[in-house]
């Protein structure tokens, strides 16, 4: 069998073209992962047949190779043949066995179990019994905390995700310059992210203490009205969001990495055309940073919908239901004093669906605002 290889120069751009034009599908019918380098996608070992003549090379390998399905594995090592291939496959599966078990036991089974138990009456003590849509009916029409907790979650997401993006980007732009000392500032802003969340939250719980806390102390010193912070229905949620803003260094550092990938030449060109810093930010930086922004939006949404520690440590959902985040409600329904596991699994599924829909919307609409370099 003769195979034609086209050699494109460059360290990682080796592409093999087979006559049968099966370039994008490998022998198992899997789609070849475009992220893998050609070397990793099974076209290695062709050097022996290649004659290098400058730029692109057409090489002809005249190997008496077995059926098509074998052509890739056959070229890769001196030991060839189906028995070797079977052994390699077995080795590979032994290597990934931990994850196969992990996915089966800690993802597939729990997902299936949740999908079933959401439709059952289940208190964890006696066996679950089929209950149809009762959990969902209770959740939507009778549960006094379901809608308040959705509202609290929406409020939290709407406050925390945009604020972390705006402040993170602002800090990143501020710290994206070469000045002596800039790294010290970067370290300081990143510091809160490194600390354990429980340590941070308990610290802030004391900071918000109306009597002894730092927050009111500072407000008094500045002659500003003090607040009840976590004990006030109006201020509890904003107080929690402020703690998140203290940890904005996490999104700052990702934006910073993105900003440093913006080519210098673009700014130079804009400067020669007479653009000021504000114009340059909105016309160059912002569009070029949108892919990172999308990543931040999606990550931020997924994490914000699953926020739990804040409420568990600071407020237990109160005062009233003002900070009853959905995650916390699920937790109390499942592991509280009156466990209702059927209801809790139903709620967990609802949360899963909400997260999927919202991130799906973010990704779908991203083509409208995310700048793509190659058009």
């Amino acid at each position: 069998m003769m195979t034609a290889h086209v050699h494109v120069p460059g360290p990682r751009s080796r592409v093999a073209v087979r006559r049968s034009s099966d370039r994008h599908t490998n022998d198992n019918g899997d789609i070849e992962d475009p992220g893998a380098t050609p070397a990793a996608s099974g076209v290695e070992g062709i050097e022996d047949g290649i004659t290098r003549t400058g730029g692109s090379v057409v090489a002809v390998t005249t190997e008496a190779v077995q059926p098509r399905s074998d052509s890739r594995a056959a070229t890769r090592s001196p030991r060839r043949g189906p028995s070797h291939r079977r052994r390699t496959t077995m080795t590979a599966y032994l290597f990934i066995l931990p994850m196969i078990i992990g996915v089966a036991v800690f993802m597939i089974y729990p997902l299936a179990s949740s999908a079933y138990h959401a439709f059952t009456k289940w208190d964890g003590l006696s066996p679950a019994t089929w209950d149809g849509l009762a959990n969902f009916r209770y959740m939507l029409f009778e549960d006094p905390t379901f809608w308040p907790s959705l509202r609290a979650t929406a409020y939290f997401v709407l406050l925390s995700v945009p604020s972390s993006i705006v402040f993170g980007l602002a800090l990143a732009v501020l710290l994206n310059r070469m000045i002596v000392g800039v790294k010290i500032f970067r370290t300081i802003f990143y510091l809160p992210v490194v600390l354990p969340s429980i340590a941070v939250l308990t610290l802030w719980k004391y900071i918000y203490d109306p009597l002894y806390g730092l927050a009111n102390q500072l407000l008094t010193a500045l002659n500003l009205p003090t607040s009840q912070w976590l004990q006030s229905e109006r201020m509890a949620m904003p107080s929690i969001v402020i703690i998140g803003i203290w940890g904005v260094g996490g999104s700052m550092i990702i934006f910073l990495a993105g900003l440093q990938n913006v080519p210098t030449e673009v700014y130079e060109a804009a400067r020669t055309d007479g653009a000021g810093p504000v114009r340059m930010f909105f016309s160059i930086t912002l569009p070029l940073i949108t892919p990172i922004m999308l990543l931040q939006v999606v990550l931020g949404l997924v994490l914000a919908f699953q926020a739990f520690n804040q409420v568990a440590v600071l407020t237990n959902g109160g005062p009233g239901t003002s900070t009853m985040l959905f995650m916390y409600k699920i937790y109390t329904d499942a592991f509280g004093s009156y466990p209702n596991l059927g209801l809790a699994t139903a709620e967990a599924l609802v949360l899963f669906v909400i997260i999927m829909i919202i991130t799906g919307i973010a990704l779908k609409t991203s083509s409208m605002w995310v700048f793509e370099e190659t058009k």
Binding site: D27, N28, D30, E32, G35, A36, A40, R76, S77, P78, T88, T91, A92, Y93, F95, I96, P98, M99, V103, V105, F106, Y109, L111, S113, G124, L171, L175, N176, R177, M178, I179, K183, I184, R186, T187, I188, F189, P192, V194, P196, I198, L203, W204, Y206, I207, Y212, L214, Q217, W246, I253, I254, Q260, N261, Y267, F305, Q306, A312, A344, T345, A348
Partner: protein, 311 residues
């Protein structure tokens, strides 16, 4: 102000700064590298102001941790301690059995860090460097599991450990990590894919199998990868709160995160030993902080790889 040619300043503009390396790749707009003096001073003022604001809570915590008992109930509260009571760092931890909690946390952390890093390295290696049927299918399945929210699987997994009689043991906190961490596998695959093929090919010609290549060649070659994973796994385990909360009942088995949250919840108007609390809290923060200062570039590598690969 005239701009020097890019080629002249670019090399000197790099790597000139001392201090910790927070970001791997640095390409800063030329215009921002040669600012005028006034704007430079404004920049320092603004950054110092913001930086100080960020540090205030931590400084205040240190101040509380050093306060004598008599200062705690003082009204109005004072910012600084009247005298330093260093014994808080002994009495505070003693009161919450800090040494016991620390031993628990270290045991759990070490085992689960080892489990998740070892298993993820194995899986990442196989996915990146062995050709086998179903490779991409498994890779996409593993990656998909990153996006399944923990709470959806938490309840069934808790029931599973309950049925096995493993509630109130450390098994539920350690065991799952031995079955691979999807994020780590993703990282490992990226890293292994970038290593030249020729290395293992020549080893294979010498008769080495995949296990030998993995242990003898790949592990030494991928030191930055597994250090990054160790750090991420350490943080995950050290900071974990929800899982200990769900699985542990007896206080002798608590982790530090659970113990600290419990201690804070137990403080009341009657016995507000916030100085004890903050002293213990500082000790709890110390290991991650030290790790951060000594291994900063690996923190960034994890972020960088994730960020770049998502682009």
């Amino acid at each position: 102000m005239t701009m020097p040619a890019a080629s002249a300043t670019y090399p000197t503009g790099r790597n000139v700064e001392p201090g910790p390396d927070l970001v791997m790749r640095r390409r800063v707009p030329l215009s921002r590298r040669v600012p005028m003096t006034v704007s430079r001073i404004c920049w320092y003022l603004l950054c110092s102001l913001l930086g100080a604001t960020m540090l205030v809570p931590l400084l205040w915590m240190i101040s509380i941790a050093l306060k004598p008992d008599s200062n705690i109930l003082q009204l109005p509260p004072q910012l600084l301690p009247s005298s330093f009571q260093w014994s808080n760092f002994v009495n505070g931890p003693q009161q919450i059995h800090f040494p016991q909690l620390l031993a628990n946390t270290v045991t759990i952390t070490v085992l689960s860090v080892f489990g998740s890093v070892a298993s993820s390295m194995l899986v990442g290696y196989a996915i990146a460097r062995i050709q086998f049927p179903g490779r991409n299918f498994w890779f996409y399945l593993f990656t998909f599991s990153i996006f399944v929210p923990g709470i959806v699987t938490l309840i069934p997994i808790q029931r599973m450990f309950f049925a096995l009689g493993l509630i109130d043991t450390w098994f539920p906190l350690i065991l799952p990590s031995f079955f691979g961490n999807p994020v780590f596998i993703f990282l490992a695959r990226q890293y292994f894919t970038a290593i030249p093929r020729s290395i293992d090919e020549s080893a294979m010609i010498d008769g080495a199998g995949h296990w030998k290549i993995f242990t003898r060649l790949m592990i030494p070659l991928t030191k930055p990868l597994w250090i990054t994973m160790i750090i991420m796994a350490f943080q995950g385990s050290w900071n974990d709160f929800l899982n200990p909360l769900v699985y542990l009942n007896s206080e002798t088995k608590y982790t530090l995160s659970l113990g600290m949250a419990n201690f804070m919840g137990g403080l009341s108007e009657a016995a507000p030993q916030f100085n004890y609390y903050m002293a213990s809290n500082l000790l709890y923060m110390l290991p991650p902080l030290l790790l951060f200062f000594f291994a900063q570039r690996y923190f960034m590598m994890g972020l960088g790889t994730l960020g770049v690969s998502q682009k």
